[in-house]
Amino acid sequence: MKRSSSGNQKLKEFGLPLGVLLIICVLTALVLIPKVKEVLAMRKKVEAQKVEVGKLSTKLADLQTLSEPELYDSANLLLTALPAEKDFYFVLTSIRRIFNDSSVVLGTFDFSPGEVSTQSSAKKTKGPQVMKMKLSFETTRENLNVLMDKMENVLPILEIEAIKFDRVSLATESASSAISSGQLTLRSFSLPLPKLLGNIDSPLPKISASDQKLIEELKSYSLVIPETLNPESQIVGKDNPFPF
């Protein structure tokens, strides 16, 4: 009886410390250690947030220095120089205007528009898309030089690929007045717009000094006001019985 009471006594005396030890171990394992891991993860998150704040602040500061009207004008100019879509009618009427302004007779023309589709279904090809056209002309050499000069300094951008002369009538006065007729092969260009025109997380593209120089160069090009092709008047109904 004496032994059992001393055993109980020992249990009572050691039970409390063991219990406290157990509680400390359980709390450490279940609460403290996960919390420490969470704190370490949050520290990494804070570092990442600092980087993001830096990037966004820089982007905002850059955007605040830009002038929207100037950007609109530049974007417009560049879209005129290199349109987003193939518009062969616009190109044709522009070329007619250039021919008329240069006193060159435009005979026949042959267009190869290629793939003409809406932007959403258009394939994204690398680089500008080309549209070729063959035009027959008749003019003096002097006017031909004027025409070529205009073609190379006009918006939208055109490129003369080849000139083929059918005949040259040699004028008695000078070579510059000799009448030439032949075929001109021209190339016009287009480039679809990029799919994404802005993303908050993407950095802002920069316009370098050479880019600015190109924009200034394009401002010196002439903008062609296309010729409107007058629709033929159609007579409908009966003839006017009172013509006078």
């Binding site: 410390p17 420490v36 966004l56 955007l63 530049s74 290199l82 083929k164 002369f165 040259v168």
Partner: protein, 180 residues
């Protein structure tokens, strides 16, 4: 005479004493452990609260910056368009052949009796010319002019592959020039 140790404490007493010593040790270790646990927990909780506040503040700042950037959406889209167009235009203008200048250079070859038939600008950067001379005098003059153009180094390369004579007595020429 050797000393004889006399222990007046009974066996029971010794056991009791041992027990007390163990109890004290355990108490001491537990106190230290408990102290470390409390301090560690306090620091952890304090850090947790502080970093949570920082994370929330950063999230608010990021959200505010993003909404401010959104107000400049148009400017950003114009800028991206400009950047995209410039790349395309640059590639077009770099590869574009300026015919006017070339025609001016080639006009140095025009002599009386010479007729330009065909002028083609290839993608390789060379110019193919087909012409015709009315007679031998015109051909001689043309060749002399060609020699002058060659000596002036207006072109990096001149290739003269063919001269043929037709039944009418005219001379058909084909030349290839490479621009500088």
């Amino acid at each position: 005479m050797p000393k004889v140790g006399i222990n007046l404490i009974t066996q029971e007493g010794r056991e009791h004493l041992q027990l007390i010593r163990v109890k004290l040790k355990i108490k001491r270790y537990l106190t230290v452990l408990g102290g470390i646990f409390v301090v560690g927990s306090t620091i952890t909780i304090a850090l947790f609260l502080l970093i949570s506040r920082t994370v929330k503040a950063n999230e608010q700042q990021i959200s505010s910056l993003k909404s401010q950037i959104n107000t400049f959406q148009k400017s950003e889209s114009y800028l991206i368009t400009i950047n995209d167009r410039i790349k395309g235009i640059d590639s077009v203008l770099k590869n574009r052949k300026l015919v006017g200048e070339t025609m001016d250079l080639l006009s140095n070859l025009y002599v009386p009796g010479f007729e330009l038939i065909n002028l083609e600008f290839t993608s390789g950067g060379s110019i193919k010319m087909i012409g015709r001379c009315e007679d031998s005098q015109s051909l001689t003059n043309f060749n002399a002019r060609l020699e002058e153009v060659r000596s002036q180094k207006l072109f990096s390369q001149i290739y003269y592959p063919q001269v043929t004579r037709s039944l009418e007595g005219k001379y058909n020429l084909s030349l290839e020039f490479k621009e500088k």
